[in-house]
Symmetry: C2
């Protein structure tokens, strides 16, 4: 199982429209990056306007599903939702008890679902006692809403009216005597004002905490002053009561005016199961789950004609780069090349390269290229020195510095070529820099000064990788029978040998690894990927221009 | 419905273990950011080792579920999976036909599931004809694997042995005569070598294309040369045949040695439904869906004792910053402040600030502060000028430049203070810079030179926002009855008025908006968020040191 991605199980009804039931649970599990399994207790033909039909599942088949899952999968967190009737409840409790006895207890959240958001009864009235007696004792947490809590309290002879935060705290305390380790009493149907909230938070009541995820902490006057939206004075408060600590924690948040509340309870208990499956403490698990659910309502777009579902996907974003795998260890580079394939091909299979491979390249073009490349390499070295200067620990500082030394070595190759053709070092140095060379070289340094180190790595990549590609391409073509590439006796043999050779290819390999590992360590947003792609394509195009310049002697 | 997040529907069986069936479909829908609905045709008690029991759903209840979904939700893509028996098939086809007649056709992918990965029969043998006659004509695509294709071909009197790519192409062509618009014949159970593949791709066969997502294109010699893993010579090839274009497209990828294949077919057809729901053309939809499924297998971690499920979540990453909402329009800033609350409080409620509010602050401390702040503001102005220099279009260039002008104005406030206390401009300029001032100022410029523009924005934020917070805090405290803050008659009144005043608070507002909108436009990875947080906390801490320095006259 992927690290940090525990398996979690929901035992609940199916909602065909996908907003509630096991569908909401599975979406929540996925959005919170858990592995989801699901045991179905009943099917509903349902949509956002209501429940049109229910089809019960035989209790023994519910047990069979639980057995199939728990006998095979290492489930770390669970929730129950709609349990339909007392026979199903008995099947669930007896099957779970057996597993808990044999394999240890799994944290269970019981959402005591009795009525749907749209008002449809989802639990036979005579099943309430069975739920209390059989499921609550197996649960670390129960999550009733106002009407469910009142029903449960009435059943067991407690005062059952819940209208204020104080009522909620007392109700949660009383509910915690029914068998579960803790109670999360949901306040979606209770109106609380800021004064109500401040009243409760008075230090006179010692064991009450308030979570501040949605009610701003102190020292954020600026965030309150500059929030131009009409900030409501009405709050929803969920109350967590933890029996062993005799502590109540309030989770207030602004009341949302929204009809996208179909499946809210399912989503909350599913999110709790995920957090508990990661061994998160109850208070923090509740903070995460209530926050996830609240944002699901707040960011939802309308679906259907009735109470629409939450947006379950606000907590994830699309990955831009495919994962590195054995089959494709260089997904970013491959993606850059494929997304700019026309420009890339014009560069790496340029007429200059073809003529060089054939040995027919005009000597003056080659020498012009070598002289300009000599100037270019100074920019290229400086850009790597800039990379060292922008790096914040020794490994990248040294890596960039070694490349500067490598480039210096490459430049000596130019000097020796030129010497071979009667051009002195002095002549090389005094050759005027062509506009293309300046454009490309200055672009490197400008981009390097403007962006972060990854952008600088990207601007340096097209040169490094492209020359490696040209070297390998010429070499592999030369090895084919009757090749168009002339290897032995080619006046440019040393150039081809250098770029296809081990030393340069090692640099290519290091470059590829640098690019890919940085992208894994700091995966780009769409905006950053677009920037990288633009920089890559610009450089690819400047490389092509560089060879045009050599051919034109411009 | 969220833009680009179409609703998609699966009509299939339930897999309690979550790896296949509607569970795999819903996970796929979520991972590909579609809204998922699901109609259940049959329940299975199932895990990675096999199917332990099956519970059929009455055909009329299947119809009821379809009606509930399609009467309410604007479904844009659909798939069918396990259809159980001919009665369910008839219920599905007649219900769909009715909707298609009334409301228009929805793209449907039919996965002609007959046998599970673990070998369990999932379709009554006498139902094959019903599936061909009733479901295929409603489908834009069917997605049989080798054994399903052979079964279908045998049923309808076609040659039915499929062992080579050529066989696959012919089989796909023949299958396309059975009623669907196109056929995707899956090659998971057929061994193809590179030579087989190259043989087929010969230009002699005119209407065959090859997708190169997993088989490297030309001009990527470097990626092949530096892939040190043993690259297999065995391939899986899926063949798409599009009847109207009389075209076959091959989707080859390296054969994976994996037992994490439970639910592969479900996942593929679900991913196809998502792509078709976004109006993606069939060839591209198939590329996306086969790639998603392949990576799901390749990145899976073991779950269960048998054929484990795919990793459905490789295509998404966790969002680090909560969405901007009406209730919390500044989620990044709030998160930075809360994650560094101890340091933040030490800064904004510093003893210097408290004494200043009371009017008891030692005059020498205030003047020392003002003199050093004057030096600091030069760094602060330069850092904004650097931000302008690093920006790549006029809006941010101008915004940063206006802030430079604003800082110059702020610095004149210092000059006038000092004049008021008998300190000349010359004395101000010649005051030596303290170490704390240099540390903070140089840190701004170093960070600005080192990182991208957002990092520079972050390094500038603690000063801008903190002084705004101090100003608002003192002002709001002053307005309370019997306040400890002395407003009228306070020797530092002008300072308090300046930082709580409209001009400065407008700058705070613009700063908040800049930070938050940049984070939405370019959401940070975990690594980048950690960098921002570190920079923010460092500056917060340097701000505190700055006031320590003022108190100590150091």
């Amino acid at each position: 199982m992927a690290k940090g991605s525990p398996a979690v199980l929901t035992i609940a009804g199916s909602d065909s429209s996908g907003g509630a039931g096991i569908q909401a649970d599975l979406k929540t599990f996925a959005a919170l990056r858990c592995y989801g399994a699901s045991v179905i207790t009943a099917l509903t033909a349902q949509n956002t306007t209501g429940v049109q039909a229910v089809h019960g599942v035989p209790p023994e088949f519910v047990s069979q599903q639980i057995n199939s899952v728990l006998s095979d999968i290492d489930v770390r967190g669970m929730k129950t939702g709609m349990l339909f009737d007392s026979a199903v409840i008995h099947a669930v409790s007896s099957t779970l008890k057996e597993h808990f006895t044999n394999k240890g207890v799994i944290p269970l959240v019981c959402d005591p679902v009795s009525v749907s958001t749209s008002g449809h009864s989802l639990l036979h009235p005579d099943a309430i006692d069975a739920m209390i007696d059989e499921i609550f004792p197996l649960s670390c947490l129960i999550t009733p809403n106002k009407s469910e809590a009142e029903l449960l309290l009435r059943k067991r002879g407690f005062p059952s009216t819940i209208n204020t935060v104080q009522d909620m705290i007392i109700a949660a305390q009383n509910l915690s005597t029914l068998g579960s380790k803790a109670v999360l009493l949901k306040g979606g149907h209770i109106n609380i004002t800021r004064d109500d909230l401040n009243g409760v938070v008075s230090p006179a009541v010692a064991d009450i905490e308030v979570n501040h995820d949605f009610i701003f902490d102190k020292n954020v006057e600026i965030l309150q002053a500059h929030n131009t939206a009409n900030v409501t004075n009405e709050f929803v408060v969920d109350v967590l009561y933890i029996q062993s600590e005799r502590k109540a924690i309030l989770y207030p948040r602004p009341r949302l005016v929204s009809s996208n509340t179909h499946g809210t309870g399912c989503t909350l208990s599913a999110a709790l199961a995920c957090a508990l499956g990661r061994d998160t403490a109850l208070a923090e698990a509740t903070a995460q789950a209530t926050s996830y659910t609240h944002l699901g309502i707040e960011t939802a777009s309308p679906i259907g004609q009735g109470f629409g579902p939450l947006n379950h996907l606000h907590s994830v974003t699309k990955s831009l780069i495919a994962p590195r795998t054995v089959g494709n260890p260089f997904p970013l580079t491959y993606s850059l090349i494929r997304n700019t394939s026309a420009t890339w091909t014009k560069y790496v299979q340029h007429e200059f390269v073809v003529q060089l491979g054939k040995g027919t390249l005009d000597r003056s073009s080659f020498l012009h290229f070598i002289k300009q490349d000599y100037h270019y390499l100074k920019y290229y070295a400086r850009a790597h020195a800039l990379l060292a200067a922008k790096s914040d620990n020794f490994a990248p500082i040294l890596a960039a510095t070694h490349i500067v030394l490598h480039i210096a070595k490459e430049s000596s190759m130019h000097t020796s070529y030129c010497a071979q053709w009667g051009i002195t070092k002095e002549e090389l140095e005094s050759t005027p820099e062509s506009t293309t060379t300046t454009a490309y070289g200055a672009f490197l340094l400008d981009t390097g000064l403007q962006g972060d180190t990854m952008k600088l790595v990207m601007v340096l990549a097209a040169c490094l990788l492209g020359y490696g590609e040209v070297g390998l391409w010429l070499k592999s073509e030369a090895q084919k029978p009757n090749s168009w590439v002339v290897w032995e006796g080619n006046p440019y043999l040393k150039w081809m040998e250098d770029y296809s050779g081990e030393d340069y290819q090692n640099a290519v390999k290091v470059g590829l690894e640098t690019i890919e590992s940085r992208a894994v360590q700091d995966p780009p947003s769409a905006a950053r990927y677009a920037e990288w792609l633009a920089v890559w394509e610009r450089c690819t195009s400047l490389e092509k221009s560089f060879w045009d310049m050599a051919m034109n002697l411009s």
